[in-house]
Amino acid sequence: MSNEKQVDSGRRGLLVATCAAGGVAGLATTGVLVSTFQPSERAKAAGAPVEVDIAGMAPGEQRTVEWRGKPVWIVKRTPEQVAALKTHDGELADPESQRTQFSTTPEYAMNEWRSRHKDILVLVGICPHLGCSPSSKFQAGPQPSLPDDWQGGFLCPCHGSTFDLAGRVYKNKPSPDNLQVPPYMFEGDTKLVIGKDEKGEAKA
């Protein structure tokens, strides 16, 4: 065992090179395995815009369509419901929809009723808190889990966030943000396209 102290620098260099090459190969393989977790091409392709015919929707009616696997609500609000939107700005966390952390409200929905047409509300029915789908509570007045001066809106059953009929969240609720308004546009009077507007299709 007398050769222990003598380091053969050529062999040491090869040892370092082998470790480096092995490390690179290991990292690259890890990268491949991590990448397999990303949405597949098929999942991405399934994100195409959805067309909905809203002819014949009665005031107060709600329809749910699927877009990218998520529920999208279309609500035809009554004139009274639209009028009530102005009355409770003080109770809302973000009445002007200024926050952009969860989603950016499209320009055409940056108004009091958060929609292109005053009566037709289009929202992604997923709570910004943890992704549950809120329930519709359009009936005004006192009822379980809701305040006594309830004016109609949505209640998330998971953690109790409440939203008004423009999808705006009330103050001091688990959800920090308003419900998302997806990009949408009208083609004609009664055909609604969800997931696409003048600027093109929604990003992933």
Partner: protein, 467 residues
């Protein structure tokens, strides 16, 4: 050194020869001796010390029943729900295997919670058993992951929305959150891709890690030796052969003892499997008998009972509560600076971290801090060996009022668990917020309270009354 086999007399039995042949090639007898027949455990173990063995039994039940379930289950979003119903209705005795697995999940947590309580009461995590405790908390984390991944597999409403909520927890992390939850799901919502990867984690990835940790837990325990209700090191008093005077061989003394308790455990376990497998909606939730519907959240969703204490802490963190948390952080940093003898570097670090947290609480949403608090509520258990500074291990020799602290902590934990299964109400949230303070106070203030009071003298030998 050349290979040498022990020479047996010519008339040795075939069995002895076979064992001798193996022992020369594999440490069979020596392992048996080291871990069973010559592993000396304290003779004063009480009833609470059986839950380690029971946890091992439940692990075996889960692995065996799990293997047979995988033979019939289909990890496909279109087929999963029906394949579970197929197991329940058409596979001969399939219902029994599935109920054993689902009841086993809850039984696992009951057994493990009692096992952890035992450790807490008798200071089993104290020096030199820190690694035993750390491996144990690792096992607990694996169990939580196992339970979470497994819960998605039946593809019922609760499976689906439970997974949706938990995966979205990661979305609360600033900057990378939304992309991270997208990466975990592999789709824009919980979908077939999510089900397949959760299946892989549930049946192979996590069990491998779990079994490795269980082996490490037991090896570390047997290296230092078991503690006991008196918290006395039995290795300090040994006979002339080096065997602890207060120790008895694990086998046959504790193996027989544990097998007796196993019969009682199995009596209760099978009673639940046969007569109350759903346990009134606590072991199997009613909403999970409805197939997953991505467009409709059930009116009331709650995790399974064993997650609810931590879930309550998540839910209690509203934007108003963040102000209380800020006050708590300020008070705690002040306590560290004024009432510890840490080096000034540590105190400055504490002040800076406290300041960053408070700034973070202003800048980031309450949602993020809820996720952080929930994570910390589990992770804080890793710190227990270093938080406890009492001069004795066991609660038996602590000041009497320490028992009330444990009692208050226990009540806070149970109240949090109860509130977690209930729909959120303003009063419930306020109580959960109070209990959240109690929960964290118990751990974070432990360096102070655990050293206070008059401790009783610890005897040299364990307290044991022959029966």
């Amino acid at each position: 050194m050349s290979f040498q086999e022990k020479q047996l007399p010519a008339d040795a039995s075939v069995g002895d020869k076979a064992l001798n042949w193996i022992d020369a090639r594999f440490p069979l007898s020596s392992t048996w001796k080291a871990h069973l027949s010559e592993y000396y455990a304290p003779k004063n173990f009480n009833f609470l010390y059986v839950f380690g063995s029971l946890a091992l039994l439940v692990l075996v039940i889960q692995i065996v029943t799990g293997i047979f379930l995988v033979m019939h289950y289909k990890p496909d979003a279109n087929l999963a729900f029906a394949s579970v119903e197929y197991i329940m209705r058409d596979v001969p005795w399939g219902w029994l295997v599935r109920y054993m697995h689902s009841t086993g999940a809850s039984a696992f947590f009951i057994v493990v919670y009692i096992h952890m309580l035992r450790g807490l009461l008798y200071g089993s995590y104290r020096k030199p058993r820190e690694l035993v405790w750390l491996f144990g908390v690792g096992i607990f984390l694996c169990l939580m992951a196992e339970a979470f991944f497994g819960y998605l597999l039946p593809w019922g409403q609760m499976s689906y929305w439970g997974a949706q909520v938990i995966v979205n927890l990661f979305g609360a992390i600033p900057f990378i959150g939304p992309d991270l939850s997208l990466w975990i799901r592999g789709d824009y919502v919980v979908s077939d891709a999510t089900l397949n990867r959760f299946f892989a984690f549930h049946v192979i990835a996590i069990p491998l890690v779990l079994i490795g940790l269980v082996v490490a837990h037991i090896v570390a325990l047997h290296e230092v030796g078991s503690s006991n209700p008196d918290g006395i090191e039995i290795k300090n008093t040994v006979d002339d052969k080096g065997i602890p005077l207060d120790g008895i061989p694990f086998h046959p003394y504790y193996s027989v003892h544990d097998i007796f308790i196993v019969t009682i455990f199995l009596l209760i376990f099978t009673a639940v499997v046969f007569f109350a497998p759903e346990m009134g909606g606590y072991f199997l939730e009613y909403n999970n008998f409805i197939p997953a519907n991505p467009l409709k959240t059930p009116p009331h969703i709650a995790p399974v009972w064993y997650f609810t204490p931590f879930y309550s802490i998540l839910r209690a963190t509203t934007s108003d509560f963040v102000y209380w948390l800020e006050a708590g952080v300020v008070a705690y940093v002040a306590l560290i600076i004024l009432r510890t003898r840490l080096a000034s570097k540590c105190k400055i670090a504490a002040a800076i971290i406290g300041l960053l947290v408070i700034v973070g609480m202003y800048l980031l949403d309450a949602k993020f801090w809820g996720v952080v608090l929930m994570g910390v509520s589990v992770m804080i258990m890793f710190g227990l060996p270093w938080l406890d500074s009492s001069p004795v291990k066991s609660i038996r020799y602590r000041p009497g009022w320490h028992k009330y602290i444990y009692l208050v902590f226990g009540i806070a934990f149970i109240v949090l668990g109860y509130l977690g299964v209930q729909p959120p109400t303003p009063t419930g949230t306020a109580i959960a917020q109070f209990c959240t303070f109690l929960y964290f106070g118990f751990f974070l203030l432990m360096p102070w309270w655990s050293a206070m009071g008059t401790f009783k003298p610890v005897p040299d030998r364990v307290v044991f009354h022959p029966h």
